[in-house]
């Protein structure tokens, strides 16, 4: 049973709105995402128009997260007016292809704040 090709098997309608989004593959407790372009009103379980990359959210043994982007095809779909979902926009922002997504900054400073609070709490506990 061969896997569907990266060129996609979904039906394509020229006028319908497209969206570039993450589509979850992988299995239980092991997420893995394809970055694919599909119709905006189509479910993630349905065949996509084209796969544009992949994203592995679980860090590997060197503490790295791997992202593959077919920038050529992404440019093509962006040129056709495809909508980009926020998680994909974040990844593209981190890669330097897009400006950094505001949500990335928000996550960053929220994480920093929790870290600070935790430290303060620890200090307080340590002193008391």
């Amino acid at each position: 049973m061969p896997l569907p090709p990266a060129t996609g098997t979904g039906r394509y309608y020229a006028i319908a709105a497209k969206s570039i989004r993450l589509i979850r593959h992988g299995c239980t407790n092991r997420p893995f995402f394809h970055i694919s372009v599909t119709h905006r009103r189509r479910l993630n379980s349905q065949p996509v128009i084209e796969q544009l990359g992949s994203y592995d959210p679980m860090p590997n043994m060197n503490n790295e997260k791997l992202v593959a982007l077919n920038l050529d095809r992404i440019k093509h779909w962006l040129g056709k007016g495809a909508h980009v979902s926020p998680p994909v926009a974040e990844l593209l922002g981190l890669s330097g292809f897009f400006p950094i997504h505001p949500r990335s900054y928000m996550t960053a400073w929220r994480n920093r704040r929790t870290e600070r609070e935790n430290q303060a709490k620890e200090k307080a506990e340590g002193s008391s």
């Binding site: 860090p59 503490n63 790295e64 997260k65 791997l66 077919n70 920038l71 900054y105 960053a108």
Partner: protein
Amino acid sequence: MSLIKLCQNSTKTILFKCTESQGLYISARKLSIVPSIYDGENPAPKFFSSGVQIILKRLTRPNFEKVFRKRTNSNISVLRTPVYKFLTDEELKTEQSNAYKSAERLLQMPPVVKVQEPVDDVLSKDPALVGYDSSTYLFTDITHGVANEHRLIIQREPDGTLRSCDHDVRKKLNQIYFPMQGRKLRDPLVFSDPEKLNSLLERQKYEYILDRACVQYEPDDPQYQKLTSITYQHVDMNNQYDLIRSTRHFGPLAFYLTWHNSIDNLMLELVQTGIIREAVLLMSLRQAIKEDLVNGEESTALVSEILPTRIQLSKPEFVSEEDIQLDTKCMECLDKYINNNSAMKSQQGLALQGFREYYQQLIEISRGLQKAHGNA
């Protein structure tokens, strides 16, 4: 740069300088080999210059029986049935010329280039991203039709820096997204474990090591250059040139030895086996690379005369008048080289003297034969 350190060391092993934290060392029964890589002047322009390439190909001495020897690497459990064809003379010639072309492909030399330099270019720094994630993001541009070495591979570090990846990461990601058959993500044990490499060297599996290294590494990888350097030196020390003759690794070996000024062993072997034309070619190779010979021009002039002649696979057994003329010139040229530039004067001189006597007999025999056949 001293090439072979034949140091009789009391401690059997010597750790040689290694940029990585892992210490790769070679112990070969009190003989320790120090690998030397092409880290100074770039050897590529000289290696790829047409004159040097021609000489290197000729020095490889391609023997078709060895080039097309039985190889069972096609992953089939049973050998295929041979194919037979009835051919006319012309068809046979075209088939043979096709075979020569494929031989050229099989004998394509791995390039000799300068060792790669570390990549260090920061694309952007964004301290506002500190704390976004604790792991590094590696982005690979998987656009079709881009060569591995030009592929865009960048990383976003936890401190918000966006930079190009270094060679080892690039190699890994290229292998993940565009796998090359036979290449492993991790270094195979043969190369990471010095004991295993050593045992291979002692069993003289040079071709295997060199082929495997070609698959696993890029030619500008320091690890590749170290491995090949160790193997070449091992071949040179044990005089086992015949094992990698008519393989694609002989050219880089000859180039390596010439580049590091240690062709004396090879020269001695060539003179002893009586293939002095190749000895002259080796001289001219040295002249082309190092330009330190007294009679450099003379040897370079001889090359154009030697190249059109047939490849000698063994000592000559019959010589014609033209051969005698050429060989005499070669011997004179070699004599000058041995007296002026050789580091093994006495041995090479003796070997040349031996060849001269043999050649004198050969001339008499061939002339006698020609007379007997009535061609003189």
